[in-house]
Symmetry: C2
Subunit: 335 residues, 2 copies
Amino acid sequence: MTTMNRQLVLRQRPKELIAPGDLELIQTAVPDLKDGQALARVKYLSMDPTMRVWMAVDTYLPAVAIGEVMRAVGFAEILESRTAEFKKGDKVIGLTGLQEYAVIEPNDKLRGFRQVPSIPFLSDTAFLGVLGITGLTAFFGMEIGAPKKGETLVVSAAAGATGSIAGQIGKIHGCRVVGIAGSDEKCKWITEELGFDAAVNYKHADWKERLAAATPQGIDINFENVGGEMMQEVLNRMNLFGRVVLCGLISGYTKGDPSLASFGNVLVKRLRVQGFIVIDFASRFMEAATKLGQWKMFGKLKDRETVMEGLEKAPEAINMLFTGGNIGKTVVKVG
Amino acid sequence: MTTMNRQLVLRQRPKELIAPGDLELIQTAVPDLKDGQALARVKYLSMDPTMRVWMAVDTYLPAVAIGEVMRAVGFAEILESRTAEFKKGDKVIGLTGLQEYAVIEPNDKLRGFRQVPSIPFLSDTAFLGVLGITGLTAFFGMEIGAPKKGETLVVSAAAGATGSIAGQIGKIHGCRVVGIAGSDEKCKWITEELGFDAAVNYKHADWKERLAAATPQGIDINFENVGGEMMQEVLNRMNLFGRVVLCGLISGYTKGDPSLASFGNVLVKRLRVQGFIVIDFASRFMEAATKLGQWKMFGKLKDRETVMEGLEKAPEAINMLFTGGNIGKTVVKVG
């Protein structure tokens, strides 16, 4: 008897939120297994903001093709196997897609199926959440954030799956942890149950003042999930040498916010943007000047000057730096 | 006989470019030296874009106070000394300010005077340029950029003092170096004299296409001096795991461009913004999941789920991630 599989396939790319007609629920017959394949019954599907990105554009993964089953991480149980890697009853995680049955192959690198152990105190869904992609994202993101005891961490979308774990990891490392979330209930949950030191509901008109009050020592680490105005305000309160872990920009996923375009590149291309001011390197100036001098002596560095005569020319000379009149180094000759 | 000193003092903060009345040229008498002081004759003054910032706002240094001599790096010669650290004839560099004579003290940390050697093949001005703050900025910035042989480096304001050195350092490290500059003359200088592989004049209407043609392998390192639209286009062409060395944002210094506000924080606070995608850490998932599992077992991590029943709920569940309806991890229960 043929088993029918319900699937959600992508029919058109969403404009803002997902609208009727973007994903269509269809029924297809589960195909017969070939050698090297296994059939899995999907039990749970992980819902992640990145899915909205997969529906729209090529980023770190190609966009889901029109007509394809929508991509999603799922927890599934093997029903039948014609591969040595999986046996009936095994529990697996991987890119099952939005469907009830998935035919999987162990060496499908993109969909990346791996077996998960049965552990008594853990629910199956833990492998999609705290021990799954969500928890891993929080873990490695906080590693990038390099938290130090006593520093202040601000997490946006703090009551979300990733943010709620990231904040708790900050507490484990001895940080003061402040969450930004969108309801008083969420704020209560992260402070009273998860142990965040403070929470700010950004739907209050005075949320910026509340954030300031909650971060009296400024902000050392920003675990950023939202972007846009929220990120700008956090950046305004960052301390010197702070770290911004760019994990998501969900405020821009459902609308094409052009001001987020640059930050979007930083996220999906895993760029490192490093601000710097040369005076921080003062202790190494001699070392560097020696090197520069050698390069110059051996003709590897050439320089050119735009020299203006007289102190009174300084304002004009400064302006020229912005209007493009100079080439090379601009100096004013005074004496 | 009293020596008169001409000085440029800050009278009002500039709105856009420096306008008449922002800096006033005044004459004052050079004061008598006290013990521990030296009098220096300013020979050359370095013109740097950051001066425009010093005139306007507190950043990594406090803004210049109204009525104060405008801050500037100068090259000066000691005329008279009542301190053991400097003797008549010594050449020094430090924050002389925009004036003809400067009274200096060796232990003035902020103004940071240091003696420079007389080296036959080097002009005095080299200590303001290629071997001075400009060259040092290029040197340490390129250290942050971590150039590897064969990578593509794009430098904006490439014919400027810092950009022209940064690009040449890229060539020394074996990079393909492309400069962006504002005239054909500048482009010619950086390619024909400095050895850049290509140059793009951003005043041509098709500069974006020219940049694309000049960077067929994409961009690995961006030594950014300009910001704004130029930076956005470079970010669009960045390769995975690229580095953006944020050295300046001169397109925003003379106008309060709000879209640059966030990047301005990154620059002046020396923030590190790191985009990341968790799949890059796949080889360490087991290690991390073990750690997360331990934390969860010992009650250091709590989680919460929003569970929706039925595959057909998936579109609604995804949308909820953006409209704020969920708390904690959202999963769809399928089977």
